[in-house]
């Protein structure tokens, strides 16, 4: 008897590679369209970080404001970029997965010959596209209204790091999506999202936060992504980039492990 772990690998089908690739692409395209047209999702995912950036980065502080010698509006592109990426990734994966898993749609797909990983890959790709959209919106605002100067190299590096930084939070989203119900997913995400953001120095720069929080931040994954992003604009905490990547990779693996437990528990219940 095959175990749940092998179930996902078992449906090996003699399907030409090109056709498999086409399914992955189509799955991702329609996942993206589904979310793009869902205004609650597309507007809030891009709207919230942009709104906060305008408020904290452009309105409340002048164009020249600086913190520890770093231009404030530039600093906040990195941190609100991290904030936006986190939101797009957590909501993009967890909310959809919890709903589709809880309300029967995932079963319809599982009963078809869809390659099972195409479903998850589509959610990750969609989250990364929205992450890129958030970051590019912040660039546009910062450069036009905030007096931000980014070289093409800096912009490319910042975008790449932040979009890649979507992965740990997609993994976290999958873990939440496997343990939350269709209605509880969004509140549960909020429970993690806002406190993690504030304590990681994404809203208010870390050096303005109490010492305790500054210490605590080192244990929070968003802090490490924000530090990598800040490093690009010369405002990081001068820690080694590898330590940040190591924490993020470790966190991703832990979340994938938790998601896998949820997946297997689901298999045990519905397919087991």
């Amino acid at each position: 008897m095959a175990t749940a772990a092998t179930t996902i690998h078992a449906p090996v089908l003699d399907r030409p590679f090109g056709q498999t690739l086409a399914i992955y692409a189509k799955e991702a395209k329609f996942e993206f369209l589904t979310r793009l047209r869902l205004r609650v999702f597309s507007l809030s995912t891009i709207g919230f970080p942009v709104m906060f950036y305008i408020l904290f980065g452009l309105v409340l502080n002048g164009r020249e404001a600086a913190v520890d010698g770093t231009h404030f509006a530039t600093y906040l592109i990195a941190t609100f970029g991290t904030f936006g990426v986190m939101g797009a990734s957590l909501f993009g994966t967890a909310a959809g997965l919890a709903t589709e898993r809880g309300l029967g749609w995932l079963q319809v797909k599982r009963a078809s010959p869809m390659p099972p990983f195409a479903y998850f890959a589509a959610k990750v790709v969609m989250s990364m596209i929205f992450s890129a959209a958030v970051v590019l919106s912040l660039f546009a605002l910062g450069v036009t209204l905030g007096g931000v100067h980014l070289t093409a190299m800096q912009a490319t590096k910042l975008l790449s790091i932040l979009v890649l930084g979507s992965l740990p939070f997609c993994a976290m989203g999958l873990a939440i999506g496997y343990f939350a119900g269709p209605t509880s997913a969004a509140p549960i995400i909020q429970l993690f999202y806002l406190p993690l953001s504030v304590c990681s120095g994404l809203w208010v720069p870390l050096m303005l936060l109490p010492k305790v929080l500054q210490k605590l931040a080192h244990f929070l994954p968003p802090y490490h992504l924000a530090q990598l992003a800040l490093g690009v604009v010369g405002a990081g905490q001068q820690e080694s980039a590898w330590s940040h990547w190591a924490v993020l990779i470790g966190f991703t693996l832990i979340c994938l492990g938790v998601a896998r437990i949820g997946f297997q528990r689901d298999e045990g219940k519905t397919y087991g």
Binding site: P11, E27, F30, L33, G104, A111, P113, T270
Partner: protein, 322 residues
């Protein structure tokens, strides 16, 4: 898995009549969820080209049976085979279509986009226009799923089940919650698939639906098949007829007639439920010269079903189980 071929063989050995091959089968299948025994030692097969209705009340085990056939669940005991293979394998799944009960489908995708995506999963899908035509969706192919009526939504799910041009379809309560018109519309479309030679297993708790569509009906209750046969056989196997008449005999006398299952008063008339009408009518005419206004009607599948499920899994009125 192995049983498909020998089964066909045995059928052929019978000589004159050889029923079509078994294409999907549950063999001594049990399914337990925690404390609940959803299916008990179920033996049950679907034959090529037939429409088999699995009929039963809510909680009887219909959906569990379908999910086992689709490889979405594994049996606690016993064997499941579909098209000679295990339905958890994708190569078997490419020849299966499934319509399940879904509480929520992504609402912002358009009808044709849903079909486009599901068609891409299959090696030889139907042309999209054909899928739309069979399911009657041409007019609404550009509408987002969320804007459709209940009947239209069911037709889209039906289209997703058939778009891969599968050999066998599993339809779990396809018309649940639909109004009469929408239900009849979907029946027409299901009949079109049967005409194309597809094998269909359909679950329903609408007796009328089983009667209208099925070549064969299996009645399931509390995880057991309690009767199996053509719709008319099922009806005949239970209290098959209802005699309505005006008689001067006392109700107790009528109840004591051999072959009478039940008598009730309907205004001034008696309604007598019987297995076979003729012996009871002969007795009635012999004993009561004043009897008049006699009508004999076949009991509906509804009555047959009630009689079957109320009697549970024991007693003489469970003809399908030997």
């Amino acid at each position: 898995m192995l049983a498909t071929m020998p089964d066909v063989q045995t059928d052929r050995d019978k000589g004159s009549y050889s029923p079509p091959a078994v294409v999907a089968q549950l063999q001594r299948v049990s399914k337990v969820f925690g404390e609940v025994q959803a299916l008990r030692n179920l033996d049950f097969s679907v034959r090529a080209g037939e429409l088999l209705a699995l009929l039963g009340p809510n909680g009887a085990g219909k959906t569990t049976a379908v999910k086992l056939f689709l490889g979405l669940m594994r049996p606690t005991a016993g064997t499941v085979s579909v098209l000679g293979g295990n339905p958890v394998h994708a190569e078997v799944r490419t020849r299966i279509g499934a319509m399940l009960q879904v509480a929520k489908v992504p609402e912002t995708l358009r009808v044709r986009e849903h079909i486009d995506l599901f068609s891409s999963y299959y090696p030889r899908p139907l042309p999209q226009d054909e899928t739309l035509a069979i399911a009657g969706l041409q007019e609404i192919k550009n509408r987002p799923f969320g804007e459709l009526s209940g009947g239209q939504k069911q037709r889209v799910l039906f289209a997703l089940a058939l778009c891969g041009d599968p050999d066998i379809l599993f339809l779990d309560e396809p018309t649940v919650g639909l109004d009469v018109e929408a239900r009849r519309g979907l029946w027409e479309q299901i009949r079109k698939l049967v005409a194309r030679g597809k094998t269909i297993l359909l679950t329903t708790h609408y007796l009328e639906e089983a009667d209208a569509l099925a070549d064969r009906v299996a009645v399931i209750n509390r995880g057991e098949i309690i009767a199996e046969g053509t719709p008319s056989e099922i009806k005949a196997k239970t209290c098959g007829r209802r005699i309505r008449c005006f008689s001067s005999l006392a109700i107790e006398t009528l109840r004591a007639f051999p072959g009478v299952a039940d008598v009730r008063m309907d205004r001034d008339a008696y309604e007598i439920r019987v297995a076979e009408a003729e012996p009871v009518l002969r007795e009635l005419l012999r004993r009561d010269s004043t009897v008049h206004g006699i009508e004999v009607v076949g009991a509906g599948l509804e009555e047959a079903f009630l009689a079957l499920t109320q009697n549970g899994s024991s007693g003489p009125q469970t003809p399908g189980r030997q």
